[in-house]
């Protein structure tokens, strides 16, 4: 008998996934098998089979931050876009549990019925999924007030490479029982397990906010203002420094009771005047500027991290390279640079790494620039963790720090 052809092998494999999960949860296109789970069990079944067969598995949500280095050649894809249910919203306890494929905006709309939200403003909320946002540890301007995902995720269900279903944390905000495995999953880019369900702590949506923008030709005065505001008693909910052809712009959002917000506005204006600057009401889309910085076609997109005091100098360097960026007051920048810019990126990376920060390429890297930069001294430990969780190296292989 002849050896089975490639097509026959593919059909055989597809049949095995169909048998294990049910045909309605499996589809194939372009030579790879897609799993479309609606329950954690489906993911577990798919992983058990992939693990037994030693098949590489790629995990994807809304594909909003699909990076060039995620291998397109994976034979199995877990697509979480049908894993969308908001399982529970215990509004009296300010918690909710949701499946990982739920789109961010859909979750927020459901929570908004009780005036609550997950206090995070990630990129592309209309398309990005809960799981993808967590796997990439995205955060926006609200991080200044509410913290990042590690402060907001209180429980998680994950499926390990061998199909084991494990739960971490729970449904209460305060909980120190066992290791915080869910923190390990945040930002791990799917290399340690598949996130299928998440429990968040919630906050009340602030009802009264007001945003101001302060323009300046040079970065230093607005950088100084940023530090002064951080050191003030203003109820600052969000703050970012960005650049444009016209110069540098500091956006500040205050959130307070209506009786208080006018007082705070006066206090802010007087701080601004003290630096010989002017504050005007922000145009409506300033808090969406991260998306603009992230999505310029043909540009190299980077993320850099720094201390607040280094924000103006870093943005000045981006400006000098012909790029544009948005830096949150927490010290996280999304910026784009025109190609080729290799030298410029390497210089900038050296500058932020010397100050203890990092610069990573998040999209359309410049040739010759490594995605991650200096490897952490804990890289061996990270590799050991990866090996413990995924000894066969089948989950999103090669896409993470140091080739993990």
């Amino acid at each position: 008998m002849d050896a089975p052809t490639h097509l026959e092998q593919a059909n055989l494999l597809r049949k095995r996934f169909c048998d294990a999960l049910g045909a309605e949860y499996v589809s194939d296109s372009l030579g790879s098998i897609s799993i479309l789970p609606v329950e954690t069990e489906h993911v577990a079944g798919a992983m058990r089979l992939a693990h037994a067969e030693g098949l590489e598995v790629a995990i994807t949500g809304g594909s909003t931050k699909r990076v060039a280095w995620l291998r397109d050649t994976a034979p199995v894809w877990i697509r979480t876009t049908s894993l969308t249910e908001v399982r529970e919203h215990t509004w009296q306890d300010l918690t909710c549990t949701v499946q990982a494929g739920c789109r961010w905006q859909a979750l927020q709309s459901a929570l908004g019925r009780h005036g609550q939200f997950v206090a995070l403003d990630p990129l592309y909320p209309d398309r990005a999924t809960v799981g993808g946002i967590i796997a990439t540890n995205d955060s926006g301007s609200l991080r200044l007030k509410y913290g990042s995902l590690r402060d907001l995720v209180i429980g998680m269900t994950i499926v390990l490479a061998d199909g084991t279903i494990a739960k971490s944390g729970g449904k209460v905000v305060k909980n120190v029982a066992g290791y915080d495995l869910h923190k390990l999953m945040i930002g791990a880019e799917g290399t340690l397990g598949v996130i299928t369900e998440v429990t968040f702590r919630l906050h009340a949506i602030p009802r009264h906010t007001r945003s101001f923008t302060v323009d300046c030709r040079t970065p230093q005065p607005v950088g100084e203002l940023l530090l002064a505001i951080l050191n003030s008693h203003l109820n600052t909910q969000a703050m970012q420094l960005r650049n444009s052809k016209e110069g540098f712009h500091l956006d500040v959002q205050l959130a307070a009771l209506p009786e208080v917000i006018s007082q705070q506005t006066d206090a802010l204006r007087s701080m601004v005047r003290h630096l010989q600057l002017d504050a005007s009401d922000s145009v409506s889309d300033v808090w969406k500027m991260r998306e603009w910085a992230f999505s310029q076609p043909g540009m190299c997109t980077i993320k850099a991290t720094m201390l607040p005091s280094q924000i103006p100098a870093t943005l000045a360097a981006i400006h000098a390279l012909g790029g544009a960026g948005v830096i949150q007051a927490t010290g996280i920048m999304i910026a784009h640079l025109p190609p080729p810019g290799v030298e410029g990126i390497l210089q900038l990376r050296a500058q932020v790494e010397t100050a203890g920060g990092s610069l990573t390429i998040v999209r359309d890297g410049a040739k010759g620039v490594d995605r991650w930069g200096k490897l952490p001294d804990s890289i061996d430990l990270m590799r050991r963790i990866k090996h413990q969780f995924d000894p066969g190296n089948i989950l999103n292989p090669g896409c993470f720090v140091g080739g993990i």
Binding site: K174, V176, N231, I385, Q388
Partner: protein, 494 residues
């Protein structure tokens, strides 16, 4: 050979190895006398004791690394110890193991108020950070009740909380970066002073790992701007349920106080006798601390007062001065110690429930207490559903201790049944190992073990803690059926 030396030999710690340890820490850095070692035989969980083989008091990171390298080479278990104030046996030594005391590593290494960060050694006392940055208008937010004596290293190991974590978050919220010696002796850094260091969030998994993943030698922490205005309201209620309802109403009104605490009559009376905070005599006392801008606090205090009165509070008053406010908190934070005035012995528990389950669980605790004939007094962080039931008993009465232990574990099980946790801030340690198996399934705990095996393949860092039973790295898990006595907490699996 003295008896202490014989014990050491038995644990694999030869006189020669001991001399090597002594060389790493220099004169005055090692304790081997049995009478002195007894100081280190337990922490705040005094019911379980092990005399360590030796206590080492390193002064530098390099000394810590040398000690741990020796431990790794000779397979000697070790546990780090700060002030020994932990309540779950986290700093309990392994029999024949080493204690690493951080009493001599207590320097504040760097203060950067511009970027709102400090870097400290693990032996620094929690309140010393606030004292250091107060003049610049900042404070360190996590405030466990033992904050005037407990150390940051211990806070990191346990992910310590406190009354004010309702608004400000836990220790893990404030840890930005860590310098760590792994159980293998490797020196590594987790996180960084700027946010989002590339790679896995190892700081996230290390904080709260109860000393089982290594030893921190330097910690970078976030400090917080001191609010412009702070007010504390005391409200007296006839029932705990009414106080609990008020807490829910405050949250529903979109107010996030800095702290919300409830004390029951027994706790109030005990605190009154011990530190005289001037609490009203009532069935349930609700303490609400609000902070923020002057105008905001003024508005919100009025709202909170209205909610208290609507739920039947017959007295509500503001602490009138900084001194009075401090006294109010001193009374609350002395609650555990004050329980000693109510009974010869007591067990403090640390269960968590979703806030809305407060009235139900308190009723259940009252029923369970009545059934056993033991008294239970309740002090709790009501805002985040963290209960501290204090089970009172007399160890000199035969079998009463076992009854008290059993009751306290059953209370934790009820917390889990309501969707909560067995510990909100005290940690699992040795005390609640068996209860872990009630909260998590075997696959959940096996997954946690993957992390431990990556960090500590030889199981040397604070072994036999946290998990129901030590499992060796590489060992396959089988279905584990706990003995009924274990489930009820009467017996422990050693």
């Amino acid at each position: 050979m003295t008896s202490a030396a014989a014990t050491r030999e038995q644990a694999g710690l030869s006189e020669e190895l001991l001399a090597q340890f002594a060389r790493t820490v220099g004169d005055g850095g090692i304790i081997v006398e049995r009478s002195q070692l007894q100081t280190y035989e337990c922490d705040g969980l005094t019911a379980v004791r092990n005399v360590p083989a030796a206590v080492l008091l390193p002064r530098t990171r390099d000394e810590v690394q040398s000690i741990i390298l020796l431990c790794a080479q000779h397979k000697i278990p070790f546990v780090a110890r700060g002030a020994g104030t932990g309540l779950s046996g986290g700093a309990l030594p392994a029999a024949g193991g080493i204690v690493l005391s951080f009493a001599r590593m207590n320097r504040i290494l760097a203060v950067d108020t511009v970027n709102q960060r400090v870097t400290v050694e693990p032996g620094v006392i929690n309140t010393h950070i606030t004292q250091r940055v107060a003049a610049a208008g900042y404070f360190y937010a996590p405030d466990p009740s033992s904050q005037t004596v407990c150390t940051i290293g211990g806070n990191v190991a346990e992910n310590a909380g406190g009354a004010h974590c309702l608004k400000y978050g836990f220790t893990t919220t404030h840890v930005l970066g860590l310098e760590v010696i792994l159980p293998t002796g490797e020196l590594v850094h987790f996180g960084s002073s700027p946010p989002d260091a590339p790679g896995y969030d190892l700081a996230g998994v290390f904080v709260g790992s109860e000393g089982t993943l290594g030893v921190a030698t330097a910690i970078t922490l976030r400090i917080v701007k001191r609010p412009e205005e702070v007010q504390v309201l005391l409200a007296a209620f006839n029932t705990i349920a009414a106080a609990g309802q008020t807490v829910s109403d405050i949250i529903a009104a979109s107010i996030l106080p800095a702290a919300m605490e409830i004390m029951d009559r027994l706790s109030i009376e005990a605190a009154e006798v011990s530190v005289h905070p001037g609490y009203p005599a009532c069935e349930a006392l609700l303490l609400v601390e609000l902070d923020g801008s002057h105008a905001e606090v003024e508005l919100q205090i009025k709202q909170v007062q209205q909610l208290c009165r609507a739920n039947g509070a017959w007295e509500d008053r503001l602490a009138q001065s900084v001194g009075e406010r401090m006294l109010v908190w001193k009374g609350r934070k002395a609650a555990f110690a004050a329980a000693g005035r109510l009974a010869p012995n007591y067990i403090v528990q640390d269960g968590v429930i979703p806030r809305t389950k407060l009235p139900v669980i308190l009723e259940e605790i009252a029923v369970m207490a009545a059934e056993t004939g033991l008294r239970v007094t309740n002090v709790f962080h009501a805002g985040d559903g963290n209960l501290h039931p204090i089970v009172l008993y007399d160890a000199s009465i035969p079998a009463q201790e076992a009854l008290a232990v059993d009751l306290s574990i059953r209370i934790l099980h009820r917390c889990v049944d309501h969707g909560g946790s067995i510990t909100g801030e005290h940690g699992v340690g040795r005390e609640k190992q068996q209860a872990m198996g009630y909260m998590y399934s075997e696959p959940d705990m096996d997954t946690m073990q993957l992390v431990r095996c990556a960090f500590d393949p030889d199981n040397l860092a604070n072994p036999d803690k946290l998990f129901p039973r030590p499992r060796l790295c590489g060992e396959k898990s089988g279905p584990y059926t706990p003995h009924p006595l274990e489930v009820s907490g009467v017996a422990e699996f050693f």
